[in-house]
Subunit: 445 residues, 2 copies
Amino acid sequence: MRRKGLASMAVQTVASTPSSDPAARTGTVDLGPAAALSCRECGERTPLGPVFACEACFGPLEVAYDLPGGSEAAEALRKRIEAGPNNIWRYAPLLPVPADVAEKPNVNPGFTKLVKADRLAAELGVTGGLHVKDDSGNPTHSFKDRVVAIAVEAARAFGFTTLSCSSTGNLAGAVGAAAARAGLRSCVFIPHDLEAGKVVMAAVYGGDLVGIEGTYDDVNRFCSELIGDPIGEGWGFVNVNLRPYYAEGSKTLAYEICEQLGWRLPDNLVVPIASGSQLTKIDKGLRELISLGLVEDKPYKIFGAQAEGCSPVSKAFKDGHDVVRPVKPDTIAKSLAIGNPADGPYVLDIARRTGGAVEDVTDEQVVDAIKLLARTEGIFAETAGGVTVGVLRKLIESGRLDPAGETVVLNTGDGLKTLDAVAPTTGPSATIRPTLESFREAGLA
Amino acid sequence: MRRKGLASMAVQTVASTPSSDPAARTGTVDLGPAAALSCRECGERTPLGPVFACEACFGPLEVAYDLPGGSEAAEALRKRIEAGPNNIWRYAPLLPVPADVAEKPNVNPGFTKLVKADRLAAELGVTGGLHVKDDSGNPTHSFKDRVVAIAVEAARAFGFTTLSCSSTGNLAGAVGAAAARAGLRSCVFIPHDLEAGKVVMAAVYGGDLVGIEGTYDDVNRFCSELIGDPIGEGWGFVNVNLRPYYAEGSKTLAYEICEQLGWRLPDNLVVPIASGSQLTKIDKGLRELISLGLVEDKPYKIFGAQAEGCSPVSKAFKDGHDVVRPVKPDTIAKSLAIGNPADGPYVLDIARRTGGAVEDVTDEQVVDAIKLLARTEGIFAETAGGVTVGVLRKLIESGRLDPAGETVVLNTGDGLKTLDAVAPTTGPSATIRPTLESFREAGLA
């Protein structure tokens, strides 16, 4: 039933298996509680290493843990977390990182604000409490800092000296910054025709930035080739051969939300969908907290949010399909514009299992939602935040999200990065001469 | 000896004294430990109210406190601070804000990262420990969120319903966001010919944004007129009639630096100079911590940093003058481009008293320093951060800052806001076809 997603993963797998794989890279790695990689499809276990697809069935690999259990352990763990640093490393016991991770130079993302959004709640009619998890507060102002920080630790563990990725924006900046802080070389690949501002953000950290003459798909294909070539020896591609570790970074969003609510699960979460990885890892994080006894086990609903111009998962959800049919993206929400989302089928499973939904909004609704969030809460969101807030509004209006439930909506990036989205409709109320008379005439007094 | 600075303050004072000043606005205000306003020149005390210049001598007013003392009180205070929220409100007992400030809706700035900058230290030859206080992590990505947050509490205390300011960028965004979160109206005045990006950042929070046909000086003059007019009744101008409170927000930088160092004073601080207010308040904050017994009393040196194209304080320092001669700014460091800095004379006093200095760097050095900081630490600074890091380098190279001392350099804003500064010299290492051969030819493998 997931042939489509798996087939596309399989192609990458073949290309990305390292041509040589020194024992040193898989033997004695210390990634804390991470015990192995396990296949999300067939459950087959693989030793920790720079691989991302199951050798048996080509299914995606994810990190499996040896985690403590029991109520006594839960109490000790909670205390340890609360005494930890104000960043994702407070959750080191639940992440694939060594115990001393906080002492190493890294950008220390996370523990971003969970904003009690009473004014937005009033506008939307949410009565059960509304919170915005605002990841624009991360070092390079998007949630990507979380996932890259974990990938850096995996890169160190496997002896990689160059950090790399394909990107169209946020990820390039996150990788550049993280590599600079960690003292790793970085080499990031982007389509050659990116907007000038994004190129600056990607290049300023001093790593190599390579423009590829072609589309983002061409960039990805090139990266897969590079991993299979001797040139790529020693290179950690955060979103390819380090992907199982990288993806775990999104669990920290779930941990933080629950801790910031006072170790409680919210009733509803509205999460953006690009590849779908973030949403699946948030679900994984919530389930871990339940099984560890850190939060009370109770139902929660996860809602996925897409832009209409790239809504393959939303369409599959509405059509009752298990298969996600790829689309060609056409939306201002470029950080979510993945037409063939690898984790789409898992997102469908989670939305259905938890009683949530997947919905999409038009670009116009995205812009309206960005402005609504800015006007009510003083949070200037990237287009992805406009997508989630817009979808939240739509879900409430159509009665599919219970406004009496406690709700968390994610803003995963910063409006400064997508100024173009709001620029055409955002400007001065008036332009006047520097006189009181002119101000009176403007009608703003 | 300070006639120049005072004369320019005096002009504003006359214009900005409210035409009517209801008793309700000065009578029963609760601003926590703030006891009165006191004149920095003659010491005359004035009740707390929306005034900023001494009626006796036109000197600038600042907040005077009733603070606890004694070693027992210090221990209790330290514990209370450490148990407080991860933002400036942990220091509420030392700020002009009500005790319940953290429960009110506000953007909760501060407690930004103090980054141990070992790689930058190695490049600069700092051996005693180097830290970057990175205020780009604030809600609107500049230190202005700190000062505006305090002004919001003063505005509430004095019954103002509109929050206002004159601005060329960072402050407009900070006021817009803070007012939105607090549920206050905002009306912000800018020169009409600001860059499009800055206009969007100022306007997106939904308050009124008014373009003024004229220069920034014209905008300021207009605001002074507005405060004296009945139209301005009920308006709190954060950087004019709320300035004594607003300015106190910068003390939190000093508190955080010392707490994050483990309740210890650094040996050297490098601080940018715009009006000079921030530097004077950091000094005030450090002296408060000493007198409260929260840090050990030991010498520290404060160094001021300007861009050569707007370096009136640096020039006065080098010339051995007490008077700061105004200049017409011409620099890419626009957030520091105040040609007639009101607190310039106080900055000179502090640099001389502490054994520091005031230095300036060229625009080219600013750009180099931005890139140096990005490349070594993964921090993308606004031009103001390029100024401080550039000045730090110059001070070390000329032997005026002891590299064996523990040093803190401030980055007060985000590089995303001043992309133009680095754009002309920041781009891809190479542009290639999507083939391994083309990549090999580029010489980056």
